[in-house]
């Protein structure tokens, strides 16, 4: 069973300089109980993707095509009211910035009970669930933590509280938008392990967004590689990381600091930059920066299947 199936999703922002085509024909699936990673450079549309799923696109953005099937329902066709009902109990989210993700003037306990307003539990039961969840994410003295305010916790603790809030909803799908980017390396590992452990216990699917390849490789079973609002390659983590077929994925892996064989002063980077999404080239979006560019690349590349479940959008894929 797939929990979330995105098919040819397109998102457009109206800007002063014209329409910005932020997501183009994005397709992938999140199967039940699986952790799917989304990786790509800053600005490739990762946050836009999850905002589209959550129905929280900025006022100037709209879904301009495609469908997002969540448990058999197309999210882009739901009313705002139905969408609100899904957010939280069905799709819960942990955001990037632990410092700003919690309300500064409402106590942690109040925030955790407020989000259970649909549960029909009594006030005491809600508080009890909050305490139990805080204990599971290893917040010391969880009863006392309820009365405290976000600024009284460290960054790592705040992020664990955010994870506790999301998983307390027992959602079918957990979306995590770079939840560890703002944390230092040791905390990052601990947070990833915690997430993994809780996901196994609760049995939800996870859509995990990161630009950190090491984290994705560690945590995720499937990977979706995005470039400039398009899915350029996807497959299992093993397929994509060990036998990547898209030149962009290859370059991304080459540039990963963890993969450098010798200690270098200069990390390799991909020359060039993401094209202006207001004027997409007719051919392959990566062609201007591609080291394997050929004349055929000026035409739209097909989605080539490398192996079952492993596809790459490139003219140069040789099966």
């Amino acid at each position: 069973m797939t929990v979330l199936s995105i098919q040819n999703l397109n998102v457009t922002f109206s800007t002063e300089g014209g329409d910005l085509h932020a997501l183009k024909d994005v397709s992938f699936e999140v199967p039940e109980r699986r952790i799917v990673g989304i990786v790509g450079e800053s600005g490739c549309g990762k946050s836009t993707l999850i905002n589209a799923i959550l129905g929280l696109l900025a006022d100037n953005g709209r879904v301009s095509g495609g469908e997002m099937m969540f448990q058999g329902r197309d999210l882009s066709r739901l009313s705002p009211r139905e969408m609100t009902a899904l957010r939280g109990p069905q799709i819960a989210t942990v955001f990037q910035d632990p410092m700003g993700a919690l309300n500064p003037v409402i106590s942690v306990g109040r925030q955790m009970t407020n989000i259970q307003y649909r549960s029909g539990l009594s006030k005491a039961e809600k508080a009890e669930r909050a305490v139990a969840m805080l204990r599971r994410v290893r917040i010391p003295d969880p009863e006392a933590a309820l009365a405290r305010f976000p600024h009284q916790f460290s960054g790592g603790m705040k992020q664990r509280i955010a994870i506790a809030m999301a998983l307390m909803m027992e959602p079918a799908l957990l979306i995590a938008d770079e939840p560890t980017t703002a944390l230092d390396a040791t905390l990052e590992v601990a947070t990833i392990e915690l997430l993994q452990e809780l996901q196994a216990q609760i049995g939800c699917s996870v859509l995990f967004i990161s630009h950190h390849l090491g984290v994705i490789a560690e945590l995720c079973e499937d990977v979706v590689v995005m470039y400039a609002g398009e899915v350029v390659e996807r497959g299992t983590t093993r397929q994509v990381f060990n036998s990547s077929r898209h030149p962009y994925t290859e370059r991304l892996l080459d540039c990963d600091p963890a993969r450098q064989s010798s200690r270098t002063r200069h990390l390799p980077t991909i020359p060039g930059e993401i094209p202006d999404l207001r004027a997409r080239p007719p051919g392959c979006i990566f062609a201007p920066r591609c080291h394997r560019r050929a004349p055929v690349c000026d035409t739209p590349p097909p989605e080539e299947t490398v192996q079952s479940g492993h596809v790459a959008r490139c003219h140069m894929v040789t099966p």
Binding site: A92, P104, Y117, M165
Partner: protein, 314 residues
């Protein structure tokens, strides 16, 4: 919170003390002999000398200041010139009228300004938003004495809906409230605009915050997000602004009291200046300063009660 309250209280005492020092220096530095001013041109030199000794003007400056300081903290601001009654009693008799006027102006401007600003922010860019924006600037731009005069002409003189002058019968609360309507409109109208603009601006900022996105991502109802999650934060700068703005309200109260011939501290000071009743002017200014400091103290305590970050930074 206790720590925070004490530190704010200490600061308030310090500010009032400094204000007393400044006030004393000003009286001291004003050219002319207070005893001569008090007694008028026909007094003899001996009478003046006697009053100088009675007023303690023969003492060294620092003794004079110390006496002024100690007396003022005990509520003794000397006697006024005309009737020789204690200044503090005269001022405190008038104070409730001014307090009622300011409170009236503040209550209705807050009651109108906050929802308007909030509404404009939630409906950003809409016709309603632009209307609130234009109206805010308009009411801010009109001076309060103009509002007072027009309110008087329209609602009291032409339409005869509301009484024109005075503060109402002393023992009839309803009558007093009716008499409060027009003056408090004059005092508060500009503030509706200030508050609406301020609340709109800070609401727009807060609604963009990460934690509001989190609240939406948990499917909390829009109303709860607007009023509990966002407005509690957006209101904080407005409360501080109101504390500081009380000075401006006091000055519009002076106009309102004159135009509507209402008793009050503003009217008292105005009359005292006309009759050169300096002890009364000094006392009224000091009482107003204390009032200003007290209201700011209350504003700080409200902010502290609403914002845990402020509390714990002390």
């Amino acid at each position: 919170m206790l720590h925070y309250t004490l530190s704010r209280l200490g600061l308030a005492v310090l500010i009032v003390s400094v204000a007393m020092l400044i006030l004393f220096s000003m009286i001291y530095l004003i050219p002319g002999d207070p005893a001569a001013v008090a007694l008028g041109p026909r007094a003899t030199a001996a009478m003046r000398e006697a009053l100088r000794i009675k007023m303690g003007l023969d003492q060294p400056v620092w003794v004079q200041f110390w006496n002024f300081f100690i007396n003022a903290w005990q509520g003794d601001l000397g006697n006024e010139v005309l009737s020789d009654r204690p200044v503090s009693r005269v001022v405190l008799e008038q104070l409730p009228y001014t307090l009622a006027l300011i409170a009236g102006g503040m209550v209705w401007s807050v009651a109108l300004g906050i929802p308007l600003g909030c509404w404009a922010a939630v409906k950003r860019g809409s016709l309603a938003d632009r209307l609130v924006g234009v109206l805010s600037v308009a009411v801010i731009a009109v001076p309060s004495f103009v509002v007072a005069i027009y309110a008087l002409l329209i609602f009291a003189v032409s339409l005869r809906w509301l009484p024109a002058i005075g503060a109402g019968e002393p023992d009839d609360l309803g009558d007093q409230l009716v008499h409060l309507i027009l003056p408090s409109i004059a005092v508060g109208l500009g503030w509706v605009g200030y508050i609406a603009r301020m609340v709109r601006a800070s609401m727009l900022e807060v609604l963009e915050a990460q934690h509001i996105r989190t609240a939406r991502a948990f499917g909390l109802p829009d109303n709860q997000i607007t009023y509990q999650y966002a407005l509690t934060i957006a209101i904080l700068p407005t409360i501080t602004l109101l504390g500081v703005g009380i000075g401006q309200m006091l000055s519009s109260a002076v106009f309102a009291e004159i135009v509507f011939a209402r008793p009050g501290v503003g009217k008292l000071v105005y009359d005292a200046i006309l009759t050169r009743n300096y002890p009364l002017v000094t006392g009224a200014v000091l009482v107003t300063t204390v009032l200003f400091v007290l209201i700011n103290l209350v504003a700080d305590l409200i902010v502290g009660a609403l914002d845990p970050r402020v509390r714990s930074s002390f």
